[in-house]
Symmetry: C2
Subunit: 253 residues, 2 copies
Amino acid sequence: MKNKPYLIISNDDGYTAGGINFLIETLRPMANLLVVAPDQPRSGQGCAFTPTAPLRVKLIREEEGLRIYACNGTPVDCVKIAVNELMERQPDLIIGGINHGDNASVNAHYSGTMGVATEAALQGFPSIAFSLCNHSANADFTPLRPYLIDMTFKAIAMGMPPFTCLNINFPNRPKFEGVKICRMAKSRWVNETVRRTHPYAGDYFWLVGECVDLEAEATDTDRWALAHGYVAVTPTTLDVTATGMIDILKGSF
Amino acid sequence: MKNKPYLIISNDDGYTAGGINFLIETLRPMANLLVVAPDQPRSGQGCAFTPTAPLRVKLIREEEGLRIYACNGTPVDCVKIAVNELMERQPDLIIGGINHGDNASVNAHYSGTMGVATEAALQGFPSIAFSLCNHSANADFTPLRPYLIDMTFKAIAMGMPPFTCLNINFPNRPKFEGVKICRMAKSRWVNETVRRTHPYAGDYFWLVGECVDLEAEATDTDRWALAHGYVAVTPTTLDVTATGMIDILKGSF
């Protein structure tokens, strides 16, 4: 198995989720896999890590070319433990996903799946995040199979520039129109809270909401691609300097 | 009090922390403040939010021009509750901090203080994050006072381009050399785990580590500015598209 690529996989839906297990079974014949994933759902964790609580991992499954660990931390914690403690050699690629749900546009900031890819890139490894625009636990991932294989091997072959990763989102449909290389759409979440009242312990809130497009006419965004049946590949940078503002601020701040 | 600016303040160290209370007392004479901050420390939470648990707020203090709420959620949750449920009018500015600890370079990705500024910008409001490079609960914030006032009012006056915010870090010293407008330094955390063994419940890990500069010679970064005694102002974008990769990927992916 020595010539097979070595991949680290994590997610934010937890190690039992359909998406990560579909990814594992898809890539297993052609790669050696180290899976370190949360022991429970950790959606919306972004790049959160755990600075003040002990982290534990539990070996769930071990076979030739495959080890699966559950970790009590966030997606970022899982990558840190994998890289610092569990990996056998430098990975050829680190993959987040497949997420159950859309991580395009501003959702990338909240996404634990993108947390995996971001942390991997911060660690200096090429990385991609896969997400399917279907939140259901029973989402059908089979249409993704050839794309997962093709994109994984292309990403390994081309590598990534430092401090970048790929955010790849699939529309929820049985067949795709093709692949679009996109920019991140500008969108905004609105109506994000609902208030409920406990019988004798006061009010509380649930976070909910709708994501509204702020540039619905643009045809080069990830949201446009997904709405039109394309797989959206959004190259993503971790250097978040707003370069255009530097000169403005130098004159006035 | 109608002509005073209206500011929303949050942080990740919790509403009792020294940093946020120093900020509140500094800005209170010149602004009306809505403070919604975590009810306990929430460092390292990045842009994490809470999709699956009920969120509660508790009014801690209410005076003319000042309301302080504690919230059981993350920094991002605090901003969402403030904007969707608690604010009396559109804020002129949303501020994260003052954080106890350095949020420059790649730390911005993990920072709950930057989570506040990021969420504020995603909501469409101008925002800044203040951090002091001193983790101590007893850190001395007094040298920051004139800068906090000056920068808050400049930020209100100039506003921010959409999908941007400011990440402002102060070196830990009694006097500053001046203010530098910077780009985010490329750095990497290393040696991030230590293993410990419970007497009868196996091994666990603590996340620790050191942040290593990957471009120590560069003089235009936030890490350089801080190391040389300057206040580092890093304009930050939420549009994380790696624009330079789009054409490369179009030909090969």
